[in-house]
Amino acid sequence: MLGVFVCQCGTNIAATVSTDRVVQAAKSMLGVVHAESIQYTCSDPGQRAIIDAIQQKGLTRVVMAGCSPRMHETTFRRAIGRAGMNPFMLEMVNIREQCSWIHSDIDEATEKAIDLVRKGVARVRRQKPLQAGSSPVTRRALVIGGGVAGIQAALDIADAGIPVTLVEKSSTIGGNMARLDKTFPSLDCSSCILTPRMVEVKQHENIKLMVNSEVEKVRGYIGNFEIDIRKKASCVIEENCTGCLICQEKCPSKAPDDFNVCAGESKAISIPFSQAVPLVASLRKEYCRLFIKGKCSVCQKVCPAGAIDYEQEDIVVTEKFGAVVVATGFGLYDWKQSYPTYGMGMYPDVINALKYERLLSASGPTGGRIERPSDGKEPRDIVFISCIGSRDESVGRPQCCSIGCMYMAKQAILTKEHIPDSQSYIFYIDVRAAGKGYDEFTRRAQTDFGAIYIRGRVGKIYPRGGKLVVMGTDTLAGDQVEIEADLVVLATGLTPAEGAGQLARRLNISTDGQGFMAEGHPKLKPVETNTGGVFLAGACQGPKDIPASVAQAGAAAAKVIGLLSQEELETSPMVAEVNQLKCAGCFKCRDVCPYGAVEAQDARDGQVAHVIASLCQGCGLCNVACPPGVISLKGYTDNQLIAEVVEVLR
């Protein structure tokens, strides 16, 4: 007793697919006793019509031809459940995303819709009633990345009374925000607003902070992740170190200053900045004289706390988590190869904006005095160029970095405050300043701080007599422009943080074309991912500014708190099942199962496979690996899929 309901979705489907013809065709399919077309099946009257038909005609199986199951499968399962049917005796046939939206010819689209419905009918005819199960939830969250988004998410979750582990790759939390001097549009001191939050993380009783650590392996699923975290050896005993910095002072091995974007120089053993949390030194073996030449140990000799341990080894900690927030932030686009006419990094006074930010900062390597890298002189004419490696199809990076316009205006203002007789020039494509108070801010940069905005791109930069000649176009005036600059600052685009792609694979979440992590739905699931229990916060999902990152972190935290406030989660009944009478006991299923859900059971003539339903996530890998095909996924049996293929090819 099969019913077919064809949704018109207003004109979304009906404009391209003749739903009446689909209904007529469905009526002649094997087992179909009822078929009708409804304007909006998901609406209240639509669902009522389905329930009425089920009850009046005694339907036992339903095919819903409409949108993607990602959209409304749950809606219709609930609806047919209300009508007294087993909710899983439903097949969603996608005639919208996979048919009406991608075709224009009505006859062909209708034909295809009929094929798809026939396929769905064949499949649901072989469907058996299923019952959902449940699994317990581990009440602990993992936040990956200790930038402002990770900090916010960790604090929000921890404040709700849920234990949080915050994992940070580098030796301190704070992320890119800790590098900023001031923030737009209020010109708040960045570290003044961030540092208290960092300290709060350190002191929060529900937060366990792990620096120098990375997620290495992920097992399990929503509510029950088991994650290996590698804490890399830093040669410093964290509990002993007092942050006195004597080791850094005395260390003879120079090392690049990553925190200051190489604007200054650091040591092999160091604390990146004075507000670091935890305030603990860590040693980079690749620059350390002891590890390179075999002789030094100065830091061990001078450390008053006995905190140096050269023998320290990596530790791998395995912990259980119910939910994960990814907040790995962003990196900067490396412009040098793609913009050869800007000198490919040969001119020391062409720098990216983050390095300039460090030169502006009172806690930076120059103590807040702006010095150009080549000769340490204070620059007078400064050129900012926007959209380097963003909004630029020619280098394959079409997207907007979303913060460049704002931070260029900010840096122009700060430059004027630092050097009152300086002049800033800003080459822009458009001024994108859509946030609250943003447009006013960019205008103030021009009216109150005298920044000269030039609409156009820069074609070439070359040195002449200790200065850099910037040749560009002013597309509004239709003129060529040539500026003799002391310093050129590039507003480079944002990329995903280093290693983000690898982490995404480990968490089984997707990434977009630029490598940013993909949200579950661009509008309705902006912080979820396609893997249940894994959420996104901040710039790992796409370029965004601090308020947006913090807001998303709060939203991700709310999702985590909601998830972890449940004691049990309903699990899908679409799990694997073994026909033990036919199992040959080769255990290929157990070899491929990512969830450890297959175990051996004794049978009369040896061992056979058995699926632990509460662990199975229904991925179907065992299904494929089983040579005789006697392990099958409930609701997705081989015979159901074969029937679909046969109908499509008919």
């Binding site: 290495e216 392996k217 992920v218 690898q502 694979r505 480990r506 089984n508 026909n579 036919k582 199992c583 040959a584 006991g585 080769c586 255990f587 290929k588 070899d591 491929v592 990512p594 003539d605 040896g606 690996a625 040579p627 005789p628 095909g629 006697v630 099958s632 049996t637 081989d638 015979n639 074969i642």
Partner: protein, 309 residues
Amino acid sequence: MSMNDLIATIKKVLEEVDVVLGWTRSPAAGVAVPARFHTPDEADGAIFDSTCTHNLAVHLPRLKNSKVGIVAKGCDARSIVQLIVEGEVSRDRIRVIGVPCPGVIDVKRAWRCFGFGKKIEDAGGRVHMEGRSMPREEILLHKCHQCQDQEPVIMDLAAGDVKSVTPPPPPDKTGIRERFAAMSIAERREFWREQFSRCIRCYACREACPLCFCRDACSMQTREPHWTGGQVNAIESEMAQQVRTSHLAGRCTGCEECERACPVGIPLMLLLEEQNRIVEELFAYRAGMSLEDKTPLLTYDVNRDGGWR
């Protein structure tokens, strides 16, 4: 190796196992046939010569609950290793007796040359049959040409010096493989259509294969799942064989038993050799070479870069 070496070794192994799998001579057919030796008296009938073509490893999964000794050629040993790797045979329940193998002959072809049932003898590098003879290398099974596995990869005892064997000659370049390689895709399609039109769905290929251990759940035959139909026609038979072939990806040790067992002479090894070549090219992997190996198609690890363990 003398037969006495072999018999003595089997008798020694019989002290610790229930049964030894080996060969004895068939009085009727004049060639070696598989035999099970339970007692020292029975073991007196054991032989090993170039008519011992059978891969006795096929019997191991069926003797799961006994301690078993097995006489193995180098190639058979690979099948044993693969069975242990796949958990079908437990290492501590078997004793492997390695034999020095000079290559085995195509008995069906010998019978076609000399007549069925004639006693075949192998002496001085020639195969003799009631007064007539031919060089052994002209009638070897294809797998024995350029054999890389003369020394068994797994062995508890050796009957004779398994390292002493001289390598067999390269194959004759006029055979079916060369003709097949020269065919276009359309010609190959036609070739297989013709070959499988002779298939009688007897499943001898499966029964002879040591690694086809799914027993009554074999997907060539079942309707649950219904991947192939049971009809005897070229399309269904080819589909069934393709299913069997793909199930052997990364598992087939190339023992050629399926082709030898086929009563209508379908050259099944053309499919498996090509697949084994692809597996070796993609994964640098030959099945049954080490007890520590895992079949490459089962070892994708999402946590590892590149995904392969």
